[in-house]
């Protein structure tokens, strides 16, 4: 039996760890699949600890804010903030409704849209790494939150649920480098893919050469990516660079202030804004 000295052992361990990481990364890239039980358990334990840490700090803060500092005003402020949140969400729903109405005007046999089913959640922790843009919320499987559910704020899209745990979930922000959403320019209906840059902005790619995009245009979700329903605000076009007839770089500034996120809404039952029940065209094809 060959005996290894400490130096050789550590070198072999180093190589094993590096190879292990490379295999781990390769496995995810080649065959992406749903989260494993190990990952779920791991995420659950860590996020619950984050929540407990946040709750501890929150308890002290709430005593100070609620009873010592601004006793009466805080309660009033909270009530008004809740009301404001409700109204802004309703405004987003109405915006989506209007877009869809314009787009589908003239079609018959339309079924009224089902209202979004949402649950409010508090952001309890930020990202554990500066390389990723994510937050932890205090709702998980137990509250009906599942992976890939869209998360919004009254202003617009926040991101999607990346890792749900028992009572917490990690939300990948839309500005993360590996986040993306199908987008549409509200004014011209030009469609593309909004991708996170990791620096707080999004870039709008896969636009057609004839697409009409201008600085200041509002970009909303297109509703064709299987995650986000149509009509949610992604942001405003901040920069447009053209190279001849085609677009070289379109940068979107998100409307959500990700550094000040406190409460978010998880869309538990995202549905298309309008769903044709049985269109005349389908009938013709059947006949």
């Amino acid at each position: 039996m060959v005996r290894l000295d400490a130096s050789s052992r550590s070198r072999y361990l180093f190589v094993a760890v590096v190879v292990g990481h490379v295999l781990l990364i390769s496995a995810q890239v080649v065959s992406p699949s749903g989260p494993s039980l190990l990952r779920l358990a791991f995420v659950g334990v860590v996020t619950e600890t984050q929540r407990a840490t946040w709750a501890l700090g929150g308890g002290v803060r709430s005593v100070w804010d609620g009873y010592v500092a601004l006793r009466g005003m805080r309660a009033e402020n909270e009530r008004l903030a809740r009301e404001n949140t409700d109204l802004r969400v309703r405004l987003q729903e109405e915006r989506a409704n209007t877009n869809a109405t314009e787009q589908l005007r003239g079609l018959l046999d339309l079924r009224p849209r089902v209202p979004w089913t949402t649950t409010g959640a508090e952001v309890v922790a930020g990202s554990t790494s500066p390389d990723f843009r994510s937050v932890t919320i205090d709702k998980g499987f137990s509250e009906g939150v599942k992976g890939d559910m869209p998360v919004i704020s009254p202003a617009g899209v926040v991101g999607r649920v990346a890792q749900p745990g028992g009572h917490t979930a990690t939300v990948q922000l839309i500005i993360d480098r590996s986040a993306a959403a199908a987008g549409r320019v509200e004014r011209s209906r030009a469609e593309g893919i909004a991708l996170g840059n990791g620096d707080g902005t999004l870039r709008f790619e896969y636009l057609s050469a004839t697409a009409d995009v201008q600085r200041g245009d509002v970009v909303v979700t297109a509703g064709i990516d299987g995650v986000y329903p149509a009509g949610l605000v992604l942001g405003h076009v901040e920069r447009v660079e053209k190279n001849g007839p085609s677009y070289r770089l379109v940068t979107i500034r998100p409307v959500v202030d990700f550094s000040a996120l406190e409460t978010v809404l998880v869309l538990l039952a995202p549905t298309p804004v309008w769903t044709p029940a049985t269109t005349a065209r389908d009938d013709q094809v059947t006949r």
Partner: protein, 170 residues
């Protein structure tokens, strides 16, 4: 016992990161990497390697991205920092600053390289990595000054250096 202390230190640093990122904003300091480099300097390359693996995998799992990206960079940084710590005497402010800065650059280079390989964009990698290197180095140097002020820390640190010297010459 040392293993438990290291795990608690690394997880504590990650919790600090997730708590502070919402108060002061993230990006400039990576407390997880500061913890990994500190562990490597205090306990050697194997401890640095394992602390880097732990910190990186936790960050990857909670970040929602590809698991292993941060883990690889932090494991390599932790191991190489441990090697540097045993080959050179890292007790001066300037040398500690360089070690923390170098480890951040190493970690950043691996992360950015993997991001590019996987087709993920990285806006201004040089500026981001340089800023984070300075931020981590300042926090790391301050952390070691703080450790040296703790009761009995000087004696313990001398014992660590003595063990390293013996290891180097044997």
């Amino acid at each position: 016992m040392i293993a438990l202390r290291v795990v608690a230190f690394v997880l504590g640093a990650l919790l600090l990161q997730s708590a502070l990122v919402r108060v002061v904003g993230g990006g400039v300091i990576d407390f997880g990497l500061v913890a990994v480099v500190s562990v490597a300097l205090l306990h050697g390359r194997v401890a640095g390697l394992l602390a880097g693996t732990l910190a990186g995998l936790v960050q990857d799992a909670l970040g929602g991205g590809v698991i292993g990206m941060s883990g690889l960079g932090k494991s390599v940084s932790g191991y190489l920092t441990g090697v540097v710590g045993t080959q050179f005497i890292v007790t001066q402010t300037a040398s500690r600053f360089l070690v923390f800065f170098g480890a951040t650059v190493m970690n950043g280079a691996l992360f950015v390289g993997l991001s590019v390989l996987l087709g993920l964009p990285y806006g201004r990698p040089s500026l981001d990595v340089a800023l984070r290197g300075v931020g981590n180095a300042v926090v790391g140097v301050l952390l070691f000054h703080l450790i040296e002020f703790l009761p009995g820390a000087r004696e313990w640190w001398r014992a660590v250096l003595e063990r390293r010297r013996k290891r180097r010459f044997h």
